[in-house]
Symmetry: C2
Subunit: 313 residues, 2 copies
């Protein structure tokens, strides 16, 4: 058995840290991201949390294979730099994470986009085990994606291949996205965008959604279930957006399986059958049907994949 790795999942709200060995998270902790203040000032706290986690487990850095970091942005996994990330972590492209890892912890670093590490987790340890052609879609604050084609994780020349499914244009006359383009999947149906979309609807005041403190997909699916007309419309439009996203990814990468993960998947019992039915009907796959499934490790896959990269790349 390999030594365990330290895996870091850099989220906009929480930075999750796990002690990972194979398919198991032996122990974990988390600290607030305070991402509005940038990432540099959080790194000493990340190092301290890692040291505390090791001490709690009676381990030292000599027991650890290295650090694997999952990042919600475009990552140069060779130079170990973040190339592009949400402005909340605007200072991240300037940070030399490898030096930080060496200096603060005495450990080597692997760094990768978080949708890719999540897919690695599912591909090595979850439902996509032994599936050599698989796409992951994460539906949450944003919409992420990643792809394994013919047994190889797709990265591309400039590290962007596979991970921009949330910025697939599915409504070219639609709403402007925070990326500047029009009609991306994310701007049409993700947690960051749906509240504004609902409130801008002319019928908003007449909907029970107007009584909600927080408009998100939990409230939309719940009130749709109670037959609120606007919640039903927003639910159904969002499902069609995600179906278009899934079809575009199937057409792009020719997978056998699409795994769906992310915060919105609390409503997976509704989402998965809908996506299966739409992709069965409309993805052009003369060989058969692509399996649409919810992910095995919606919370842990990114950590498992980051740990895998430490010991296998």
């Amino acid at each position: 058995m390999n030594k365990p790795a330290i895996a870091i999942d850099l989220g906009g709200t929480k930075i999750k840290i796990g002690l990972v060995q194979g398919n198991t998270i032996l122990a974990g902790t988390a600290i607030d991201a305070h991402s509005g203040n940038g990432l540099q000032e959080r790194l000493p706290f990340v190092a301290a949390a890692i040291q505390a986690l090791l001490a709690q487990q009676n381990l030292t850095v000599t027991d650890i294979a290295g650090v694997g970091m999952a990042v919600p942005g475009i990552v140069d996994s060779v130079q170990k730099r973040i190339l592009s990330i949400d402005k909340k972590f605007g200072d991240a492209p300037g940070i030399d994470f490898e030096s930080w890892c060496t200096n603060a912890l005495g450990l080597t670093l692997a760094i990768e986009n978080d949708a890719r590490t999540a897919l690695i987790g599912e591909w090595k340890f979850g439902k996509a085990k032994a599936v050599d052609n698989v796409v992951l879609i994460t539906l949450g604050t944003g919409v992420g994606s990643s792809a394994v084609i013919e047994g190889k994780l797709l990265r591309g020349k400039h590290f962007t291949a596979g991970i921009l499914g949330g910025h697939s244009v599915i409504n070219y006359k639609g709403t402007v996205c925070n990326c500047g383009n029009t009609g991306c999947v994310e701007t049409e149906a993700a947690t960051w965008s749906i509240g504004a979309k609902v409130k801008a609807h002319p019928a908003f005041a007449a909907s029970t959604l107007a009584n909600e403190c927080l408009i998100d997909f939990e409230s939309i699916f719940r009130l749709a279930n109670e037959e609120d007309f606007l919640a039903k419309q927003m639910r159904d439009e969002s499902l069609d957006v995600w179906a278009a996203c899934a079809i575009n990814l199937i057409h792009a990468y020719d997978p056998e399986m699409v795994l769906v993960s992310g915060g919105i998947m609390a409503s997976s019992s509704y989402i998965i059958p809908y996506l299966q039915q739409k992709t069965d009907a409309h993805a052009w796959t003369p060989w058969g049907k692509v399996k649409i499934e919810s992910a095995s490790y919606p919370d842990a896959a990114a950590l498992l994949g980051a740990g895998y990269l430490v010991t296998n790349e």
Copy 2:
């Protein structure tokens, strides 16, 4: 120098046949496709045209390396079968082309999707020479695509990867496509669909487009240039559809270059700068800008690529 190959470009109107050696078409001919009658009944005429071409060049089949066939559909290049194709050639999936090639000509066969062979032609002999990450878009009767990623032609597990860019959903509430899905690139802006779209517009009768015998992109670009309001609207919407298509393909495959080819490219002086400007502004490429260029061999690339496959795969 390798022996020359016979290349066949199976179009819906014409079946083009070329004697191909490297980047040169030594001689060529074409026969009507009569595609409404299926393909089986055309094969004796294809064989006769090949024999006539060889005789005209004072060659026999022993001088030829083999036959390369470019097909506008989904092709199993290993089993050498057509998996899916427009219903005009509805009998094609049942045809054993390899046996036909052996029996009628005494030659081996390579068979591939035509957008892939066109990209091979551009990649080996044209503007994409030595570019290891490149996407081709063909704008014509339909919209085709193909991709080379990290020096490898993308085929995918079931032979559909890269070639379905024309069925990327860019308008999920839009028009129903002939594939059954809604809002594909093709149904929003291709030669087969644009006439019906123009005629269905409420302002059609008031437009000078109503005086045209044939409504296609030639007439649309021409009358837009003469300030016809509907022609301008249709031109601009079509450009935005193709820009969304290009952005989706850039996001999917992370290329350095996008080549654009196909019949519509008679208006390339207008189309290429527009696509360059839109992808510069809206494709998420933190490393730099993707070059958008018109193809080197808009008419011959598919033949050159099919010939290349014969002698190199």
